[in-house]
């Protein structure tokens, strides 16, 4: 409902286009966008009330690769993920997920797009009154025709894959930070998405847990060829795992390979990455 009210103009645009028969035109990605990109933002402007987060942001996230979004606090990193997930709508521009413009879609239309997406929220966002097993089983119960035993098997296999097979009966409140993050990751991948969005997967974790989550994300990317879009403050892990970096620098954004940006001509970007490399491991 909140989305319906807040995104009224965008939804009206979608409705109007459907009535006038121009829906295909609106859904078609901008011609300028690279076809190899699994997810792309095209001239997106976003603000919360008076505060502009970014203006005319265009960027792409290649298929099957690990892309990391870096930037200072309040630069709009998490906003990019929420735009891709359709949890918020931009004031202008298009967000294209797997070739489909999601900006004008209804909540029902978005549910179909979200079947391709998995999202790891910063705080886990697990249902706190459900235990770990129930949290993981829920999307399968709701979305698939799997039997109870098949669901149980799938849940235990996914928990094992992220290394927390012994916490199935615990409530999210009884888990440590690292365990919670891994359970949330298990929930995000249990429906076998093709795009995985991770919001600050390393925040608040100790160096050992950071490396464990990092290895896990890289293994998921390699094993299932999932497009991984990670929001992070943590430059060292970014340099280790990212194929591509989107750096949000206040009013502008730069993107490229991590080493290219670090040694490239853009002084601000290079400084951001080099300063970040010097921070102690685990510090966010």
């Amino acid at each position: 409902m909140q989305t319906l009210v807040n995104n009224g103009p965008v939804m009206l645009k979608g409705l109007f286009s459907r009535l006038t028969g121009s829906a295909d035109e609106i859904r078609r990605p901008h011609a300028r966008l690279d076809k190899t990109m699994h997810v792309a933002l095209d001239h997106v402007s976003m603000s919360y009330g008076e505060r502009k987060v970014f203006e005319n942001l265009s960027c792409g996230f290649p298929r099957g690769r690990i892309s990391v979004i870096l930037g200072g606090s309040g630069s709009g990193k998490s906003t990019v993920l929420r735009l891709i997930g359709g949890l918020i709508s931009p004031q202008t521009g298009s967000v294209i997920v797997d070739g489909q413009d999601v900006t004008g879609l209804s909540e029902r239309g978005l549910y179909n797009v979200r079947k391709k997406l998995g999202m790891l929220f910063q705080g886990g966002a697990l249902l706190d009154s459900y235990n770990v097993f129930e949290n993981l089983a829920l999307p399968l119960q709701e979305q698939s025709r799997m039997s109870r035993s098949e669901i149980a098997q799938e849940v235990h296999a996914t928990l094992k894959a992220v290394g927390v097979e012994d916490v199935a009966e615990l409530l999210p409140g009884q888990l440590s930070g690292g365990m919670l993050r891994r359970v949330a990751l298990a929930r995000a991948i249990i429906r076998k998405p093709t795009i995985l969005l991770c919001d600050e997967p390393f925040s608040g974790l100790d160096p050992v847990s950071i490396k464990r989550i990092e290895a896990l994300l890289m293994a998921i990317n390699q094993k299932h060829t999932i497009t991984l879009i990670v929001v992070s403050h943590h430059v060292p892990s970014t340099m280790r795992m990212a194929d591509r970096v989107l750096l949000l620098l206040g009013k502008r954004a730069v993107e490229g390979r991590p080493e290219e940006l670090r040694r490239g001509p853009d002084k601000e970007a290079a400084e951001f990455l080099n300063d970040g490399m010097e921070q102690p491991a685990g510090r966010e």
């Binding site: 409902m1 909140q2 949890l87 929220f121 966002a125 706190d128 979305q143």
Partner: protein, 258 residues
């Protein structure tokens, strides 16, 4: 600079905007009630949380209100030599007015605020966004069972409140004040009409249930994702819920005379 006209305009617009949002929200809840899957388990859990756990407070308050009505009624009626009508007075005031209204007010504070706080916390901790990202409609999964349970709980608890109130009135009027039990029961039986009085009281309680269910869930669902936002939503559920119950009580009484 403070501009009172602008402030009035802003407040009016905000009010109308909330009414519009609430209408859309109510339609959404209505859609979810008739759309599969049927969430029987979630509905029973909510019925237990909102209803069964409110039984004691409703029972105790029912007895207390009945005792007060019995005591006040006995003193007043004795002045006119009409203390034999105590059963009618207690019964009618509880069935037509006090039962539905006091139950709804008690449930606003007990169950409505709890529902708002629970949903608001889920908003603040991104649990509802987490459901959306799994293609699960949070209105269908979280909101609808709560609202539906509230619709059912208010009329049921109103009946319990009324029965407890009558018992309280009986204890005071007959046990403490020495009234005649036969007169109490016969005046109660002869004065209460099932269609007008019991039906009217039930209509009120159903309307209050729908109101409370929608207000409590709407305030939680639209709360700001901060601890302050959750606390303010909870407070506003109690305030708006209580005021709405009293306003609608007047409107129903004035329109249908029940």
């Amino acid at each position: 600079m403070f501009n009172p006209i602008a402030l009035v305009g802003y407040k009016s617009l905000t009010f109308v905007q909330h009414l519009g949002r609430m209408a859309v929200f109510s339609a959404d809840v209505g859609r979810c009630i008739v759309m599969p899957p049927v969430r029987v388990g979630a509905f029973w859990r909510e019925l237990h949380k909102l209803g069964v756990l409110s039984l004691i407070i409703i029972g105790v308050c029912g007895v207390a209100v009945g005792m007060v009505v019995g005591l006040q009624g006995y003193h007043t009626l004795s002045r006119f030599g009409a203390d034999r009508s105590l059963g009618a007075l207690v019964g009618l005031s509880l069935i037509r007015e006090l039962g539905p209204v006091v139950t709804a007010l008690l449930l606003t504070g007990r169950a409505g605020s709890a529902a708002t706080a629970e949903i608001g916390t889920m908003v603040a901790t991104e649990q509802l966004d987490g459901l959306r990202m799994q293609s699960i409609d949070p209105v269908h999964f979280v909101i609808m069972p709560k609202a539906l349970a509230m619709f059912a709980v208010v009329p049921l608890l109103t009946c319990i409140f009324i029965v407890c109130g009558m018992l309280g009135g009986y204890i005071v009027g007959i046990g403490f004040m020495g009234g005649d039990p036969g007169s109490y029961m016969s005046s109660l039986r002869s004065s209460v009409d099932f269609h007008t009085d019991v039906g009217g009281g039930l209509i009120k309680s159903v309307v209050f249930g729908v109101l409370l269910g929608l207000i409590a869930t709407y305030r939680g669902y639209t709360s700001k994702p901060t601890s302050e936002g959750v606390s303010s939503a909870t407070t506003s559920t109690v305030v708006i819920g209580s005021v709405s119950v009293l306003l609608f009580d007047y409107i129903i009484t004035a329109l249908w005379g029940v």
